[in-house]
Point group: D2
Amino acid sequence: MIQVSVCGPRAATEDDLANARRVGRLLAQHGAAVICGGYTGVMEAVAEGAASAGGLVIGVLSAGTTENANPHLSVAIPTGMGEARNAIIVNSGDAVIVVGGSWGTLSELALARRRDAKVVQIGGWRISAADGSPVEGVVYAATPEEVIEATGLF
Amino acid sequence: MIQVSVCGPRAATEDDLANARRVGRLLAQHGAAVICGGYTGVMEAVAEGAASAGGLVIGVLSAGTTENANPHLSVAIPTGMGEARNAIIVNSGDAVIVVGGSWGTLSELALARRRDAKVVQIGGWRISAADGSPVEGVVYAATPEEVIEATGLF
Amino acid sequence: MIQVSVCGPRAATEDDLANARRVGRLLAQHGAAVICGGYTGVMEAVAEGAASAGGLVIGVLSAGTTENANPHLSVAIPTGMGEARNAIIVNSGDAVIVVGGSWGTLSELALARRRDAKVVQIGGWRISAADGSPVEGVVYAATPEEVIEATGLF
Amino acid sequence: MIQVSVCGPRAATEDDLANARRVGRLLAQHGAAVICGGYTGVMEAVAEGAASAGGLVIGVLSAGTTENANPHLSVAIPTGMGEARNAIIVNSGDAVIVVGGSWGTLSELALARRRDAKVVQIGGWRISAADGSPVEGVVYAATPEEVIEATGLF
């Protein structure tokens, strides 16, 4: 089964949430399992979107219990490892989708690139060298449909 | 969805393997998701048993890639955390079932009791104080059916 | 520098505490760094013993902050990984010393044997097969001096 | 004892290496312990610098053994947790210093900001919103002396 990790902030914009919901729905319709952080914001929106299409959603939680997990997860994995679980989330995807920006999200993007995973981003932050030249390695997409296409998995 | 973690050795006895297969099948028939270590031996037998009844099986792998994962997993979570992932496996179950004995398996049993999880064991090792008196905290069962019953979940 | 991991319960007996203090002092006198869990009970006693002889003590904490760390640590490593940090503690020793028994301590003993580390125990729990025959792999010592000797490091 | 985490790439520029060496030396002269990733590049340069001034250096390794650790570490902590150990490194500092840029380094910077740690950077990458406006939260310094000053610890 294809697995896709989707990362994004708790404190997300309306655009981020709408994008995440649509990405989740599309992934489920393409038969992929969604791996996410399992809490609120983008994590909940992508889970809700995938669940709405009958998809499988795994929430890889930072806490050691399922407290505060969102209600759309098929399975919860309470790692108890704090933000170190971000490495597990990005290890678990055949591609990694980033929706929106935050420090936690940026750590996931960076860990995904560190393992040389395919990373597709919609919204969120940009990375450049000290001289302003962009750092390559992330594909930027403008719509959820472009995101799915850009993963190269379907 | 009820989640049950099942732990046991790679180098398992024929009895352990048969027990694990049956436990997996029964868990799936009871509608529970199985969480296991994702590799060979008891991990593969329980996954095979659950998959044979259409169950959901999550393999929480020690490696950071899906290499050597058994073929019966619904979803693989390559933690990249080595044996520390044993803590994740036991955190993820509403109960923890132990089939057979090994050092890795004992670490899972102990971590499960450390978080005060219900632990049901079939086969495997025993723990006593230095004076020979048994250390309480694990329920021993003689058959896979007794194991399922003893979890108290169904 | 030789590094020795010392594991044991928070809720320790007076004997355990005295043994841990003495083990810590001896390790420091032999020039070894002590790695421990960094909190109270055996963890604090071994740290206090090592510090009393001017030794280096590293506390590998389960929490992500230094809150509740004992005051005898040279350096605190707040892993934020809960009990999964037990794997880090036992990975960090050229030998692993176990003083006393608890579920957390047993998980450390088992993880140490899982990586085939030298394990020397004083006090604490015993492990046997289902038929009562002892499981080999741990050296039992009766005094702190015997513990140090049995590590084979000095 | 004050602890400062220093992060940076394996594949570092000559400027990065010189800066890291000087930062390590200054930290040791100020009596701080250095926490780093324990391998080559910036990790080795900062360790070498600190060791050259008699400082304490802890290498928090991604691997589960001390293989390939640099020779300037006082103590090695082989976590066995892959890049998830980056969270441990940044948890362990009263401040986090970033020297140079790479994906692994960026994950450390982001994890440090995620826990709201003081982050001081010299060289390396920049982060901006999608509209090009800078993302606040990192202090940029031009010299090793300015880095030390900007931590606010001494």
